[in-house]
Homo-oligomer: 474 residues x 4
């Protein structure tokens, strides 16, 4: 039998996206479309929960939004309120059990929740809850939060949610739905984005503004770090139930995860990337003939680099638009196969040229080496790799699926060693200072732990076994 290979995605994995609509005839349909616009934040699973004021209706499945939902599914999601979730794609165990939103019955009625982020004290909380008699049916942090809510004091769901969230540490952006209200919350440091929109008198919550754009909703404002917005038929109320803290929005959202057409906390992603590319050109100029982006995430930075350097930009690497997740590879291996199914090097552009390759990150280094190899095989005389970010030296503990530190090439090798392993003539990373110059300054405050090793919330000690439900892969 021939062998199907999953194309190794040597990059930061995507994470999660959330969306919710309150008070609209077509709440589920709009939520579905919002998730569709947030598909880049997670392609592994998708789900929507609606509420018709009494009953909750849920449809979840593995795969992309357009594959998980059919017209019948949307029709069954009755009610004027809905929340939804897309989950990131991990290379390993992916099981339907872990799809969101999570929906429960508890003493105060029904509660649905969708969550983007990662708690650093989830295991401790889970053990505490189990000691009190809680059971866990999934591996998700969301289930920890929802248990805390079920046991929390408080006259309203927002009070109970606030009391629950006071016990957790880490990154969370969540939307919750009861029979009568929708709540959006962002952790005090604001690691992950959340915006509030409005359409036809209904309110919308979404991870990014691009979801508002698709459904034709107007942006009202960003939900603030530490803010909880409570949406009822009477309107939006804002709470700040937590101790104020310095803002620590994930800087990598701008550089990689978010869609370039989104504007997060007032800064447009595309513009930020381009400005960062300009800084990269200022910091690390090199004599060359052409600037070539590694598509797609490197394009804006390459445009900035080219503008600043005065060099022409050319699309010397062309992306295949029909990439699936698995391929049937011949036994007799094809050179650079894993990269070739995604990218092709254009000989007519690269031949005999001194090429500046602009990419946004080097994770394990395997893909970058293949790309450099492909560009050289296409005739480039020199390859100068320019990374529009500082070296990635630490894993993320706040919701992004990164390799362990041992697998991060920049955490284990010198820049010269990396350059040699990539096989390029020069290699340069943008400095952290350069990055923030591109972002328009260090304010209003970012998390850059993956570059600086400066973790704003201390990660939990690793416990040997988080969950017996965990599936081994293999």
């Amino acid at each position: 039998m021939n062998h199907a290979v999953t194309i190794d995605n040597d990059a930061f994995q995507h994470e999660c996206g959330v969306c919710g609509v309150f008070g609209h005839e077509e709440a589920a349909n709009l939520t579905y479309l919002g998730l569709y616009a947030l598909q880049h934040r997670g392609q592994e699973a998708a789900g929507v929960t609606s509420c018709d004021g009494t009953l909750f209706h849920t449809h979840r499945g593995m795969g992309r939004v357009a594959d998980v939902f059919g017209p019948d599914d949307i029709s069954r999601l009755k009610g004027r309120h809905a929340i939804g979730h897309v989950r990131y794609s991990t290379s390993g165990a992916s099981v339907e059990r872990n799809a969101q939103p999570l929906v429960i019955d508890y003493q105060h009625g029904g509660l649905g929740m969708a969550h983007n982020g990662n708690l650093v004290n989830a295991n401790q909380l889970r053990e505490d809850l189990e000691r009190q008699g809680s059971i866990f049916q999934t591996e998700m942090d969301t289930e920890v939060i929802i248990h805390l809510v079920a046991r929390a004091q408080g006259a309203s769901v927002e009070e109970r949610l606030a009391n629950a969230l006071r016990e957790v540490r880490g990154a969370y952006t969540l939307v919750a739905l009861t029979e009568s209200r929708m709540v959006g919350a962002r952790d005090p440091l604001g690691f992950r984005p959340l915006v509030l929109g409005e359409i036809d008198g209904a309110y919308v919550l979404a991870s990014e503004t691009c979801a508002l754009d698709l459904i034709g909703a107007d942006l009202v404002r960003d939900v603030e770090p530490g803010e909880m917005v409570v949406i009822t038929p009477e309107g939006v109320r804002s709470h700040f139930p937590f101790e104020p803290q310095a803002r620590r929005m994930c800087v990598f959202e701008y550089m990689y995860f978010a869609r370039p057409d989104s504007t997060l906390d007032g800064i447009n992603v595309y513009n930020a990337r381009k400005a960062i590319g300009r800084e990269l050109a200022r910091e690390h100029p090199v004599e060359a003939d052409v600037v070539v982006p590694v598509p797609d995430s490197g394009v804006a930075a390459a445009m900035g680099y080219a503008e600043e350097s005065g060099l022409p930009m050319e699309l010397g690497l062309i992306r295949n638009h029909y990439v699936g997740r698995t391929f049937i590879e011949p036994k007799q291996a094809i050179r650079h196969f894993g990269v070739k199914v995604k990218l092709n090097a254009v000989r007519e552009i690269l031949k005999g040229k001194r090429v500046i390759l602009v990419d946004d990150s080097i994770v394990r280094g395997t893909t970058s080496a293949k790309i450099v190899g492909m560009v050289k095989a296409a005739g480039a005389e020199e390859v100068h790799m320019r990374i529009s970010a500082p070296p990635t030296i630490g894993p993320c503990h706040y919701g992004i699926d990164t390799p362990d530190r041992e697998q991060l090439i920049a955490a284990n090798y010198t820049q010269e060693e990396i350059r040699a392993s990539l096989g390029c003539e020069t290699l340069a990373y943008l400095s952290l200072e350069g990055l923030y110059r591109g972002m328009g300054g260090r304010e209003p405050g970012y998390c850059d732990a993956c570059f600086s090793d400066n973790y704003p919330v201390a990660p939990e000690e690793k416990t040997p076994q988080m969950s017996l439900l965990r599936e081994e892969t293999g």
Copy 2:
């Protein structure tokens, strides 16, 4: 667009089946085959959970066993222990969320559970648990039991399970799996069957003996009402943690649900059915030419009736072996369509004959009327309907999906009214006394609430809303 119709199943719906294997290299595969033999107990969903001593692996899905499981799924279910479940088919909402086994992490590790039955105090327990902070993600009684276990006192899982089960009332037959043991339990009245078998030194639990037969396991014995068997690598220990009570095995298991090749609590199902048919002939003889069973469940009783009456039995109704669940019916309705896709009347046998039709029950009466109509349309001169059971006057509260009392024809109409609505010449039901003569006596004790209105465990008051997760159906 043409319309697909779900064939109305005017019969008692099937219920559930459980299976488990402890201590065998191929535990999941044998459990899968056991479920396959128990498929008649539930075609809506199937699932298997295995444990490799540390991790639990689960595969569940909607549909029949053979459709839910592929070779890869079995391969992933690693470990020497496994439990499984098939769920009955309801006409209404069927959602993957409610598939079993249920598997949890709790303070004492992992726990998987598969359950057949119905608790009559589930709503009350659920409310109590929610008041203590429990959350519910499904509508299943199994989740109630598992919450009680998670909160129960006790040094071992069997103690905790016993303490939990002391709080529940109603029917339950369950198999549970931890990292190191498998537990089988049957409620004190023993509504639902459970047998213990042995194969290659491994132990097997199953709802019926036919599951043992398929995998080549030997029957050790029935698990007794009120018994809990705990299976460890050291062997089987038996506990009777509950107050002893009079045995109340569901008599309808023998008459309808169980496979005729199964032997439950020492009585073979096929033999029982045939003996009941003989009693029916003694009680309700009629001058006629031929005895015709309504296949398949009426065949054994008809054989008994024919033997006792001295009349020939003929297969005057032929079953289509390829019945699916839905059919695309023409707009211009076909007479008796819903029954015709399942049965055909053989004119050559029925024409000009006085026919005794033997069936095991009349539920709403709609199907029986169509069958009588079909038999008459095929030329029968007289149709004498003989039911190998007393009139069904009460719904089941112990795990069988029956219509409400308002829909049970025998609870609302006289026998003569029913006869008239069926359009047959005579109609007779077996008496309860006749039924028990056929069963070999009233001992060792049965539940016959659906015939006698004598409910051994009082059903809970109906609460207006059991679960917000409940799906309405269109």
Copy 3:
């Protein structure tokens, strides 16, 4: 990875069924239901072609009728005329290319055709046609016939079809559809059945009467051997374009293939089987306690045997109603596995008994040996195998998928050798004379080549390679 095994079907394989409706608003829907009733004649593939007077619409697929067709598919099959086909299941290569009906454009317009049977000179005709420039896209005899029609002389499709059929030898029952008429044809010897029915002024053609019964059509009459019926809006015209020949209806249709509720050429299948069973009892009585049928095809004969012998019949082998095509077998083989997934032996009936097992055929002998083994393992003291047919000594060349002669146990071993290999105490086959006594006489004429080696149409010499399109199977 665990291994899925296809359950070996050591029996004559089913063949094909055809159906057609002319002049009905819901032609495609009725044809679909007719195929559903004919599902026992083929489970591998199903298809329907409709015509709206101008365009032809076709839906075909691999699998059972209920799986191949959804409401949308039926809706798309527009028009007042339709024909359909179910294809038998072979153990080997099954490819969608070979699904029927076959539909073509040719010089006289459109033509759809569905065919049941086997031509003995197909290879020769194919070669001749190819020499004239014909191309073949399938391996089906139907394509040969349709090519002959396309090249035939004649003013009408029925003339062209008659001219084409004069060139072929072998068994064929076919329904054909043009823009304005439906044609049904049966070869001069009438190997395969075909009936004409009527519903709401529309005409129906079908392989068996059970298809008429399901859709509520009235039987008009059997189409005669050598007859061609031409159905137009004006009504039915009958043609006998071939040299009259002695009728040779396949006797095995009555004994195995046809549904017991069907009546073929005036003889009801169930009644024939039962009468054959009585003859078997007269020819081969034996002292025993109980008669047990091998379900399902052996039931009617066993009933006849029991009646004639005065012995009780018991259902000592219970069939699993949920048999799929593949099973995941444990590595550690289960005894009699292949048979056990289909049948279970009831110990309570068989234990200590002298059992007469009644079956309709022994093909390779492997399944029969497993059944005898199972019955003995369930405690039977003696097993007396009685076959309600003569020994099968020759393969079928007229449309039934039989093993080669080398694999037919009765063609290669003595009766005593067979008995010994089955492990039963006695074995007896019905004589050919007994068979015909049961059938009511040798008239009106049957093909019994598989029992008598007397082939009414000489089979073609085997050519080394029939088709380059043929798929090898692994």
Copy 4:
């Protein structure tokens, strides 16, 4: 029920792609990967036929290459030779019957064929063939060609193919496979591209060089217009069996269909597009702030426009990378919905700006109007539409699925009317002269019928009914 809408693709539809590998251990796997690289040429259906020297093996299906083929499918495609095909996506009837390659048995053995193009005399040929007794099972031109081959004179397949192709008029690029050779042919005018490559001693044929790149094959050369290459184990032989004619390669391949990394007849697609964009800037400058491409096909031309004009290029329209084919649209329509699911306008880039929008074509005008609307809604002060091609005034008769002339906006309205309907400030198209300046001259000869109404091969008169097999669409 909610309604699924197919996103209207107001653009030229893709067409077809072919690939073949001769003499390689993994012929089918390499062909599959080649098709994967050619996926942009057709997403509706894919198929591969292999030959092991005797038997042909085929796997075809509806959908994208990665969805149609699994490892098992590849494994079954045995043999050292294979050909494959991807088919374009039409909005209408798409049926499996029309998938390629087409494989037949005929008098000279087996023959597989995959074809890209459109014959203008197909209907006439079809009628002629039918008159000679040919039957047609599909609607494909390929079947016409293959019938001609089956009836052609000639000692070898290449002679027969040449004789057959002398009868056809129009566009064809095809690969054919027999038991012992692979043939590639390109029509005398060379409408569609075909390249010859080499890998590990095996030969490869493919529509574009990007297929060679992915599998690591070296480009040997383009197959010439009117050339037939015959590949045998001895190597490649070249024939020019047709009357030489002026070359007429489809210029739109460069502008729209081909992948930018492909090089067709020596001209790199990306470079051509960029040069055309420069010409556009020279012909139609306008005072503005920013150049914005309509992704993806407009990007290269926009880069050229920006370079030439000295204006900055910004990615003001962001493409959603996860576009499926259908979406569930709310009842309350969303403005610009059909375009919004594919593109989003970035307010931060567009607001207050005078924007030059660069696109490659305007077909019906509906999509362009939505894009202009979206850009204005995002705050653009002025929108200047620049099309990197002349107005599209005629449909393609050579293999591209274009709307009828009545639907082509430029064929029915003045430029000013189009501008007004789009709602932009100015609109300008590149002139045909400008286009050819960008292409480097009118030589070596192109077909530009869609721009010039100058059809190099006269299209056939439309016949009222091409095929009775044609499916109407709802």
